[in-house]
Structures are given as C-alpha cells and as structure tokens.
Symmetry: C2
Subunit: 397 residues, 2 copies
C-alpha cells in the first residue's frame, strides 16, 4: 500500500494529481480486503456439525475475488484523517457483511446464476441455505459494532451504529422504489427518478456509509463529514451508471455476471429510460411490449426445466412443449425481446448519454474532493480517494 515511485506532495500542485492508479490502486484495495477478511475470520465462531456448516458458507462470497470498495473507502477516509487501520476495520467489516448479505439475497430475488464468476450461493446450496447465510451475515454485523464501544469510544461507536441503521433503511427503501416500479410496470421515469433510487439503493451503502464511518471513527466534525458524504454519494451515482454500462457491454468473464443481465431483468437503467424517451412511438411500443413480458427469473422455471432435462427427469420434448405454451400470451421475456431492447438503446445513443452522465458526476466528485483537500492533508489514503474517482468511471469490471 502506498504511492511507490510517484511524485511527492508540494504546496503548489494539484492536490489530486497524485491519485492512485493501476497496481498502486489495486494494492491498496487488496490490503483493505485482506484486513477485512482477517477481521472476519478472527470473529467467526468455530464451524462444524453443531452449527450446520454455517460459517464456512458465510465465508464463500467474501472469499470470492472482489474489489472491496467499501472497506477501502472506510479505511482510506479514516486513515487520511489520522485514525489507524485497526480502529476502522471492525466497522469496515460490518459494511462488507451487509454488502455480502445483500448480494446473497439479491441473487435469490433475481434468480441469478453467477456471482463473481461462480455459481450463486442458492444455485450451489438451495434457496433456504442462501437465505439463512444472508441472515447469518446480518447477525454477524452486530459484533463489530458492539466492540467499537471499547475501541473508538462510546460516542463514536453509537454514531457508527446510527449510520449503519440509516444505511440499512436507505438500501431497503431504494430497493422498494425499484420493486414498486416493476410492480406498476412503470416506465415513464426520468433521470431524477433514476438517480434518487440509485442514491438510496446503491450510493448510500457503497459510498456514503463507508466514508461516514471512516470520518466518525477519526473524529471529523459534522460539516466536513457532510462534504465527504456529498463527494461519496456523487461518486456512487457515477459508479452505478458505469455498472449499468458494463452490464450492457460486458461478457461473463469480465463482470462475473450474465451478459446483458439487466435487459433480461428489465432493470430501469439510465440507458433504457433514455432510449424509451427518445424512441419513435412505434419503437417505444415495441420496447414496452418486450418489457411487459414477465421476467423468466420470477419463476426460475426455464433454468429449472433445463436442469431437469439434464438430470434425465424430464423429457426434452415435453420441455419444449411447455416452454412454447408458457411463452404464448404474455409469456416470458425472450432472447428476441432482449435484442429489441438492445437495438433500442443502440439507436438512441443512450450509451453515450449514460457515459456522459457518469463522467459529469465523477467530475463533480473530483471538484468536491479538491475542496476537501483544503483540509484533508496529503497522504496515500487521500490519493486512494482521488484514484477511485478515475477508477469508478474507467474500470472495465
């Protein structure tokens, strides 16, 4: 961790010119990830038949290759403000456990097949096991928060706990907003709707909560903490738009998720909303028709049928007949539907619009960090925050 071989800090230079990148950035993220994993391992109760193998499964997702953005944001903020890594790691672990619990539960909800390039937990062990592992992760978030009382002091520990409570509510509300759109088949949504949902669903727990926790642990005042929160939230919006772009473009190998998964899910992305808004009435109608069809994931049926055919439990001909019957009427979204949506997006120039929206927000975050740099002294940790601005919109996974 550090800024090996980079220029030193001087009073006259752009305070953000030394942002970490490439191997330096990866080393920093990786060190934070290792720190959090060590913290998790040290806290897991002993595993075995008496716990039904629960804690081995709790480690599954965290041990898969991941960026560990949340721990890095918490650690870098705390350390840039003078706190030690040890002081912030328990809170960072709580955030990482929430993240992994959300991943496990989201994968069940979306009937996803892959997570970080491997079968999702519910595909490997069943829905009941996956849901229980997610609940166990949430149970384990409380231990580090309790320990904080002794390490960072009562007042800061209570404020961290309060931020975690807010974070959990914001995420659930963001998720509820998105699910409400799906239930109402709502597509008449603008960028403001989209960004409000993303702020709650993703930016809060991935960006705002980590920097807030780091700031609290380091004893930062409320006004400066708000500056950091705005920086983080804005970067979070850029992050999600980039994530949506990657989902549209990416192959499995890069993102560890299914290609075009968002289109299969009918997810409200900035691109899709833009494409529907600017499309001709006829093209828009075709798009809405494709989107009105049910997500196959709601029933997880196609994958289930395929698995049964593979296992010799279902005649292949019967499967074809069944799928044919099911896709008559409203039916399931098909590959042809996904292609309609993909074409709609390409023709509308939505990709460029989204790219621009991400860059604008990353630039806002960069300017905010310049202001923050007037009181946050230069350090490799501040460089990590600066490096993340470029990373968030430049990454390819």
């Amino acid at each position: 961790m550090g800024s090996r071989g980079r220029a030193g800090y001087g009073p006259g230079m752009d305070p953000l010119a030394t942002g970490l990148e490439g191997a330096d950035l990866r080393d920093y993220l990786s060190a934070c990830r290792e720190g959090v994993l060590a913290e998790l391992r040290a806290r897991l109760p002993p595993d075995g038949p008496r716990t039904g193998g629960l804690y081995g499964l709790v480690l599954d997702y965290p041990l898969r290759d991941a960026k560990a953005l949340r721990p890095a944001l918490a650690v870098a903020t705390a350390r840039a403000l003078g706190a030690s890594m040890d002081l912030v790691l328990p809170s960072a672990l709580t955030l990482e456990l929430y993240h992994n619990a959300f991943l496990v539960h989201d994968d069940v909800e979306d009937a996803s097949e892959l997570r970080r390039g491997q079968p999702t937990l519910h595909r490997a062990h069943g829905v009941a096991v996956a849901m229980n592992v997610g609940d166990a992760m949430l149970a384990l978030t409380l231990g580090p928060l309790l320990e904080n009382m002794e390490t960072v002091g009562l007042s800061r520990a209570l404020r961290v706990l309060s931020v975690v409570e807010r974070m959990a509510r914001e995420s659930a509300e963001g998720q509820a907003i998105e699910l409400d759109w799906i239930r109402r088949n709502a597509w008449d949504l603008g960028p403001t709707d989209y960004f409000r949902m993303v702020w709650k669903k993703t930016a809060w727990y991935t960006f705002i909560a980590p920097v807030t926790v780091g700031a609290i642990v380091a004893g930062l005042d409320a006004a400066r903490t708000r500056q950091l929160q705005w920086f983080a939230g804005t970067l979070g919006l850029a992050f999600q738009v980039q994530d949506d772009l990657l989902s549209l473009e990416g192959a499995v190998a890069d993102t560890g998720k299914e290609e075009g998964g968002d289109l299969w899910e009918g997810k409200r992305t900035l691109m899709l909303l833009h494409a529907l808004r600017v499309a001709t009435p006829a093209a828009r109608a075709r798009g809405l028709e494709a989107l009105a069809r049910e997500r196959a994931a709601d029933a997880a049926l196609p994958a289930q049928l395929a698995a049964w055919v593979e296992a010799g439990r279902l005649d292949a001909g019967l499967r074809v007949a069944l799928e044919g019957a099911l896709t008559q009427g409203r039916g399931f979204r098909t590959a042809a539907d996904v292609e309609v949506l993909r074409a709609l997006i390409e023709e509308s120039g939505a990709r460029a619009v989204a790219r621009e929206a991400a860059l604008v927000r990353a630039e806002r975050a960069r300017r905010q960090l310049t202001r923050i740099a007037s009181w946050m002294p230069p350090s490799p940790h501040r460089d990590l925050l600066a490096g993340l601005v470029a990373f968030v919109v430049g990454r390819d996974r």
Copy 2:
C-alpha cells in the same frame, strides 16, 4: 390486563396457583401486542412513492392476528421485576421485528402459501418484495436498540444489544443445523439432536431472548437471569413439540398454516424421528423412500403450474403430463407419501410420546418457576409467566 376475579396472593399458597388463563391470559397478550404495534407505528418513517410503499408492507405480518408471545414474555419479565412497560417496549419491538423477518424469509424458503390464514407476503407481492420487507424489518431492529441507550442506560442497553446479537446467531445456527440434515438426507437422529436444534432455532429467540431482555432492562443479576433463561428455554422446547403436534393435527382454520405442512416439508419432528426409530425395517424403508423424494416446495413448481392453468396460460393436459413426468424417478413428494408418513406416525404411538415430552418439559419449567417465585414477588406479570406454562402445552393454535 390483570387477574380479575382471581384469588389474592397469600404466603402459604402455591405461588403458581394464580397463573393467568382464558380471557385474562388473552387480555395480557393482547395488551402487549397493542403496545408493541403502537411502538412500531410511532417509529415507521412516512410511507409513499418515495419509499416504494415499503413501510405499509412492513406492517402487514405484524398486523395479522398473532399471539405476540415474545413481547408478552419480555414485558411480563420486566414488569414482574419492577420495570415499567415503557422501558421494555422498544426491546420487545426489536424481538417482534426479528420474529416477523424470520417468518417472511421462512415463508419464502418453504414456499408456504398461507401465514396466519392469509396469503404469504411472497405469494401476494412476489419473492423480491418479501425478501426486501424482511431485510427492512431487520434494519428497523436497530433503532429501538439505539434508543435504549437513553432510556435504560448505557450498560443495560449494551447488554440488550449483545443478547440480540447472540439470538440472531443462535437462530441462524439452528436453521443451519436443520438445513444440513435436509441436505444430507439425515434421518438417524435422536431426541437429543432434535432438542439441540430446537433450542437454537426456536427456544432462543422465542423464549430465552425475551425473558433475558426483560431481566436486563429491570436490572436483574446474572445468576437469577440464568434461572429465568433455563425456565424459558425449557418452556420453548415444550412449545415447539406442541407446535409440531398442532401442525400434524391442525386444519388451516386453527393454525393458519397448511394441514400436515411438516410432513409435506419432510421436517424433522420428534414424532417422525420416533416413528422411524421404532418402525419395522420394511415400514421404515417405505417412510425413508417417501422422505427421500424432493420437497415440491424446492421448486415451487406445482403451485406455479396450478396458477398458470388458472390464469389460462397453460393447458391443463400439459400440466398433468408434466407433473407425471416429474414424479417419475425420484420426483416430488406426493399426497400418498404424506399418508405413508402419517400412518407411520399413528402406528408408532409417536403422538403420545411427543405429547409426553412436551408435558415433561412444561412440568420442568413449572418447577423452575416455583424456584424463581422465591425471589420474584407475586404480581399479575408473574401470573402471566405461570399461565404461559399451561398455555404452551394446552393451546390448540
């Protein structure tokens, strides 16, 4: 609430002779339930499109008719020890929210159709909404625990938080043990295995945690708190055995669940384990064969197919063909399988064995409460604890 028309307290009489029953018991439970619901309503953020209707859904299960055992145990323990109802209600709400989150998630895992006589949340609103509502309930558990810091004081608030953390872990471990048995198709299990699982999965969060929280809020010492915990845990074992008996006997109207649901699920109950243990080798083999078949709930397919037929999206003949194909080979558990298991239980006398096991544990709990009554002064609240002992094994729902 109170012991209207009952004999007063005197030094010479059996301290538990005044246990609440009938209308008095119901009034006490009902007052605790109302108190917790008021507490919940007062804390819910405003609902609307900006929260995707989340908080209305959070209220759904709690507003359905329920016994509110957990709040009553916490309230009665605290008040019997001299604390006020206000002081314990926030912690009681946290326990009730956990309980409802478990119900919502369990219903998804088990693909249950009914909960408290109405469609389960995931049947009414989809799996994704249900899972998010469960997660939102867990998020809301933190607020009351934070508020405790001001109302019951720091030290007790931290101990309550610590008990909640332990409770969440115990429940997840108990659930993991049961799921591990299912995964391994393990049936060579004795009463010790069964009760160890139940202690973690049910007794901890339904009985032990509530009385512990009540004791902490009231400032009870550790040794006496342990006496209460043993009382509560033992009563919890009796409660679960009674619950299993009711599931076997009960119709939908009484339990609000499907009839014989445990047999359909292949749940390890004391009755089924006993029946398998004492059966002839041939009968045991028939039972294990029925149990080896997959729970239909794992795929939720039969219900899904029925719904599609009903909605005119699937030809009824094709449904029959498909179900026939699927139940060849290992297939799904059928009504005939459930009858095999039911007969196995009836022939083994397992019902009487389980009834006896419940009564023995209720009697142990009663004797423990007699010891507790040497330091817990008489009150309607102690009478509630005494009344619950009889209620737990006498209830028919």
